[in-house]
Amino acid sequence: MEQYYGLFIYGLSLLTMGGIYAVLTLGLNVQWGFTGLFNAGIAGFLAVGAYVQAILTTPISRDHLGAYNVPIPLAMLAAMVVSAAVAWAIAKICIRLRSDYLAIATIGIAEILRLVFKNEIWATNGPRGVSQIPKAFETLPQPWNTLAFLAMVLGIVAVIYLALEKARAAPWGRVMTAIRENETAASAAGKNIEAFRLESFVIGSALMGLAGALLAQYLKQIDPQVSDPLTATFLVWVMLIAGGSANNRGAILGAMLLWVVWSGSEIVSQRFLSLLSSDWLGILTITEAGEWSIRFAYLRVFIIGLILQIILQKRPQGVLPEKRPKPHPRLRGDATAASQGD
């Protein structure tokens, strides 16, 4: 029984972390999926959100800024606003850069942000990070606290999903697609390309900041290592590409799926090794199994890379490909009428 209760709790933690990554992928989807902005600095905006949340809510400490006693929901809002503001300042400078150049610029910015958080020790406690971050619902008894936190994360994902679906089908979303597909044509249609690109970048980054705020609460501890590019930027990219770029459901599915693979692969490999080294198979000694388990840890990173390769080769549109919103019935009627008139 305990075994199944444990698996249930682990399942909740998978969904929570998957949900937080879903907020990140939805943010990236606005930037890349909708508008075609290559943001390779996701980790930077995640870190901004996480540190804002941490500093605004943690109790007094002699190691870092704090003791502002801001309520958790307000701090989450602040994390979004600060992240959006940082994104706005950055976008003002480099939003005109075309795809690869924007990627290079954003990688640089994410590194700069990480180094700022690492070196401004008076504010962030440097490499030691901020500890004892308050978490929403943590005073409830187990497992209700875990369930309530999960419900909050999934609720946020649902709200973002509905809002982005609305936006995608609206004229705003169609302009974004036009910019992604053919900037010159969109510009010729009288759209202010730069302003739209800036909007998309700021909205996406605000969502990434919100994900950071959720992550800070969930982990209760953040340090510069949280914005490690491997798990905070590239994993998010793989999630979006695998799930289906420009498809909001795909973004959520990719996040959940990849996080389950990322986390669960370790359990499968450990169980597999313990089976091989068990008494009745006895293929490996315990010592050999120990050495192999270290190798499997590296294999995990390789598997994620491999998944990206296979998907890019075999299914570049992702598990759930983009579906263009149906034109408004009235517009469709007009179009038919127009073609008949010819």
């Binding site: 690492k118 070196n119 490499p127 500890s131």
Partner: protein
């Protein structure tokens, strides 16, 4: 159909209950990530303890101690995930780990403390771990930074240094020790002429050394890992002639420092503190002899702490008389602290008999006496290592 079958196989593999006759302890470590090379010997220390226990009768009624390895990547995200898997999926009795202070801090606060599982860390040294509201579930065999920085500062002061420059590698471990060192040295009336952080893994540190050179410092207190930046900084300092005397903490303790810089350059010029146990107490030698047989270096940072953490968890399970999470914490203090018959590394059979007979035991570990205070911390015991006339480290225990 094929996918269905493989999915079923995976599900069966994951949900398979612990095999009969096994007691699982989580072994969470930063296997991949920035300190991967330092973690290998620590895992080696943990596994050696498990081997000793299993070879000498196992736990309780002959159960095998299984260390379930999980990767914390030195990152709180991965640390929380690894802790979740160990506690919930593998249903471990207790956890040893999770290497870096940040990953440990995240894991214990989000997972092990709420779940009521004991965590014994063998390498997290952040002072912030001391102050957690942990319901007495978080222990460390690694001493908090506060001790080693102060020990080295006293050593420097006693050696007659008045003015020192400080540089530290920008990671949580070295930054923590450097901070305490600078505060303690200034508190003893010494002067810190310059305090400069540096990024590890650069090809040259000449510009950093130039920044540190002002102020007539008599030596350089260097807090870094030998492979990351330490050796390069010593080499550049000697080449430029800015510093000739160095003091360092255990991240620098490695024979490659002597091999690459040359013993003649370091004799009388280098002091390295290292967590150590009293040589008059032969626990460390017992451990070192066994650990060398596995082909690893017993002096590797925190390898002996890994051994002690694992051995103590096993003793606590034996003392509690059951693989019961809720009884480990109390039992851990009883087996680790005085009074009691002394148990040393490798003496599992003896300990098992004494516990069965109801005798109190007191584990004296390879890393030190490992007596937990009421915060679950151990006091730091250090040696100072200088380069002797034979070109090897000569160790002196600090009392």
């Amino acid at each position: 159909m094929k996918t269905l079958l493989s999915a079923a196989a995976v599900a069966a593999l994951v949900t398979a209950p612990a095999m009969a006759g096994e007691i699982k302890v989580g072994s969470v470590a930063g296997v991949t990530g920035p300190i991967a090379e330092l973690v290998a010997p620590i895992i080696g220390g943990r596994n050696l303890a498990a081997e000793h226990i299993n070879a000498q009768g196992g736990l309780l009624g002959g159960d095998t101690l299984v260390m379930v390895l999980s990767d914390s990547q030195c990152d709180p995200k991965a640390g929380v995930d690894a802790g979740n898997k160990a506690v919930n999926v593998d249903q471990v009795v207790a956890i040893v780990g999770a290497s870096c202070s940040g990953a440990t801090n995240g894991m214990v606060q989000s997972v092990t403390i709420p779940a009521g599982v004991v965590n014994v860390s063998d390498s997290a040294t952040a002072p912030s771990i001391t102050d957690l509201a942990d319901n007495d579930l978080v222990f460390r065999t690694a001493p908090s930074d506060a001790y080693q920085g102060a020990a080295l500062a006293k050593l420097a002061h006693d050696a007659g240094f008045k003015k020192l420059a400080v540089t530290y590698s920008n990671d949580d471990y070295n930054a923590g020790i450097a901070k305490v060192f600078a505060e303690s040295f200034a508190g003893m009336g010494g002067m810190i002429t310059a305090n400069q952080v540096h990024e590890p893994n650069k090809a040259s540190y000449r510009s950093e050394i130039a920044t540190l050179s002002g102020g007539d410092a008599e030596g350089l207190a260097l807090f870094a890992y030998y492979g990351g930046s330490g050796i390069t900084i010593i080499r550049n300092s000697l080449e430029t002639g800015v510093f000739g005397k160095f003091m360092a903490a255990d991240g620098m303790f490695d024979v490659s420092v002597i091999e690459q810089i040359g013993a003649e350059n370091l004799q009388g010029n280098l002091m390295i503190t290292q967590a150590a146990s009293d040589p008059e107490n032969n626990s460390y030698q017992l451990f070192a002899a066994e650990f060398t047989k596995t082909g690893m270096d017993p002096a590797a940072p925190y390898a002996s702490h890994g051994y002690d953490a694992t051995f103590l968890v096993a003793l606590a399970i034996e003392k509690a008389g059951a693989a019961d999470r809720s009884k480990i914490a109390a039992a851990l203090r009883e087996v680790a602290n005085a009074p009691g018959e002394i148990i040393r590394p490798g003496e599992w059979e003896k300990a098992k008999k004494l516990i069965a007979a109801g005798t109190d035991i007191n584990y004296e570990g390879a890393s030190g006496p490992v007596d937990f205070d009421d915060k679950g911390d151990v006091a730091g015991f250090y040696s100072v290592n200088r380069v002797g006339s034979d070109g090897k480290y000569a160790m002196e225990y600090l009392r």
